[in-house]
Symmetry: C3
Subunit: 306 residues, 3 copies
């Protein structure tokens, strides 16, 4: 039942549905650079309402819409703050609802996409709502693992960095726990994965926590790196100590499996130095590139059904 479906939370997806999206994205892959030959969105208008900036997500959605033959209207954030200020989100949604065939929403408040989906007749796609969800990022991360390693089942996947605040890690680890995987959480004490998330995942798949990447690098098929933000630390020296520990140095990678892949939701700061870019393990730019076929897949499913 994909036709006109809202994409609000990865929690709304079954494993079968995730796999349907993955397979559709694989089908879209050649069209992501040349354009879909059937132009399934011809004559369609998609709104991108970005109340917060996001180059990557917004531009890859726009590219996906264009590659499918559609058009895009909307705003990209700075404008939004002044323009829609004073109007409730539900009012804005009800209006834009009549200007377009789907709404892609990024909003600073958790729950914004769910609210929007209740006021819109057209499908709403959540492009990130604060500390909440960012389901298309999670889907493109799973697609990357599937595509680069041939399957998700059977893989050992380690998350490193800020596991406390990063919504990317929370969503992705929950979604992966629907698969037959082992998950590893590597972080400083201050940024450990929240207990309620660990508990939920623990019921379904093997989970292990570690303080150092070195302890477990040899076991991993995927090392998913995230940024550690200075702002999380009251003491800058504490930050510096910690940040240095979680940098992915080329020397570390020599100890990994031959097929180990390094992923990162980007933007990165210092946690992956540029020397790693040319490593055969590096997949973070490839991962970003999958944003287009993955989003084309969702648009195809929503606009044409399965």
């Amino acid at each position: 039942m994909w036709l006109n479906r809202d994409i609000v939370s990865i929690g709304d997806f079954t494993k079968e549905e995730v796999m349907q999206v993955i397979e559709k994205a694989n089908e879209m892959l050649p069209y992501a650079s040349s354009g879909h030959p059937e132009k399934p969105l011809s004559g369609k208008v998609v709104s991108t309402l970005f109340y917060e900036p996001s180059t990557r997500t917004r531009l890859s959605f726009e590219s996906a819409v264009f590659r499918m033959g559609g058009n895009v209207l909307g705003f990209g954030s700075l404008e939004a703050t002044s323009v829609v200020k004073g109007e409730t989100l539900s009012d804005t949604i009800r209006i834009v609802n009549s200007y377009s065939d789907a709404i892609i929403l990024r909003h600073p408040s958790e729950g914004a996409a769910r609210l929007a989906s209740e006021f819109a007749d057209v499908p709403v796609i959540n492009a990130g709502d604060g500390a909440g969800q960012h389901p298309t990022q999670t889907l493109l991360d799973i697609f990357t693992i599937w595509k680069e390693l041939g399957s998700v089942d059977g893989k050992k996947i380690g998350f490193v960095g800020d596991l406390k605040y990063g919504r990317t890690v929370h969503s992705l680890s929950k979604a992966l726990s629907m698969f037959d995987v082992s998950l590893y959480f590597i972080s400083p004490e201050e940024l450990k994965i929240p207990k309620h998330i660990k508990r939920e995942i623990d019921k379904k798949v093997p989970v292990r926590e570690a303080k150092n990447i070195e302890e477990i690098i040899e076991e991993l098929d995927v090392l998913y790196v995230t940024r550690i933000q200075k702002e999380r630390f009251p003491d800058i020296n504490e930050y510096k100590k910690v940040a240095g520990t979680y940098v992915i140095r080329p020397s570390l990678l020599t100890r990994g499996k031959r097929n180990l892949i390094i992923m990162h939701p980007l933007p990165r700061v210092n946690e992956i130095p540029p020397e790693v870019d040319s490593s055969p393990h590096a997949r973070y730019f490839k991962q970003a590139s999958y944003g287009v076929p993955l989003r084309m897949a969702l648009l195809d499913l929503i606009f044409r059904g399965d």
Copy 2:
């Protein structure tokens, strides 16, 4: 004579021309959600130069252009201030004139659209020029009355709120005075309709002023509500007293005609509480949705003639 016509002021329209736009908008209505089958703007480029922010007007114009098969370039305001700063409007217009087939202009200064139309060879559509004109809003308001009530002639239309400063009310009431209507102006003493406007309208149609909606709610076919802005009042208490008086409560509506419709140019703040949204009288979101077919109608007339 619609081909390449500038749309600067509603005062330039005869009643016959208004009706031509209304009928064309009605024709466009099914295409406003599915796209015009003939793509009359295929290969065309329309500029949206918004020196002031305006989600509703800009997005509905862009949707209209896309539904007609055209493309849009331009800027959406914050940018504008820094970019075009220091260049005269006439210079900017002469340049953009050569980049596009029509110019849609919003500008903070009254008269800007008229000036632009003198420097552009391509048609200029006024999307609001300060305290001046916003003719496409007026046309969509008239279309809403016509569509929702079956006709404009014979209707009793009340305006409530800030009738002193609101250009929406000034333009619409003047345009409606070309029809066989009765007009009611309901406002606090401080925000009464300006005398010169009332005098002009008075010559053509019956006009009545009132201080309370209750006095006349039973007579009305249309209640057109506008926002009362805090900034208009030197004393905040005075504002609060007044604002509360002009809130459209559900209890008030029970006293209205069965077919009474409530309109509002949006955004609203507190003057229409959310409880009214589900009332059969509420038409303000429908009104906003008519922005697309109405603007498609104008584009069709300007690009293809009648």
Copy 3:
């Protein structure tokens, strides 16, 4: 060898290549207002990454892409500063590289376009990089001379205004020195053409410097005017004296050749008064309009080869 070529610096072009662009732009001229009948960019996506504002360049590129049947994504500056902040240019380029078929880049840092071209697989077009290059402006300037005067060879071209800091003048004068032209540099002492540029040009074509336009106005076929910026002068009175001297008054033009053309990269401030706009010598708005066919020509060469 035009297919997929980066357009970084006018210094990368031979005279033959400049002429190829000029002739292609001439071919595109009728399509610049009606759209290219073959839609050579159908299904293609072009990124416009503007880290600095630029109405003229951005809008004319977007118009060119639309006239060729393509789509545009990107950002227009204010947004950019907040969005892509903290990410290296090379990372942003590698990502956007996978979202689009070509990248048009404006950036405040000299060398940014060259760097970008090294990280992108898709062609990069430099739309201005700080004090560096702006090759499409130079090409459209040459096209203007060629189109308005019938040829470039044999012409006497004078530059007036800020010849010290203006990258437009530096690039154009270097490019013109590949042709059989005479060049004249007219500026206040403080804003003379840099010695290393003059020396380079001097080897190839006759060069003359002057302090007053009056001295040489009678000889010129082209008077290329640029803005003198207040900020260049420590003393405002010095600025005022100088600025007044280099204003192109109608009386001055009466002494010029019958076919003299006045060009300006725009925006202008006071250096060309509005009275000159209606003069048969004025070509600066025509020059701006050539931005679209010129950029269409480059897109055609890059996407389809020669």
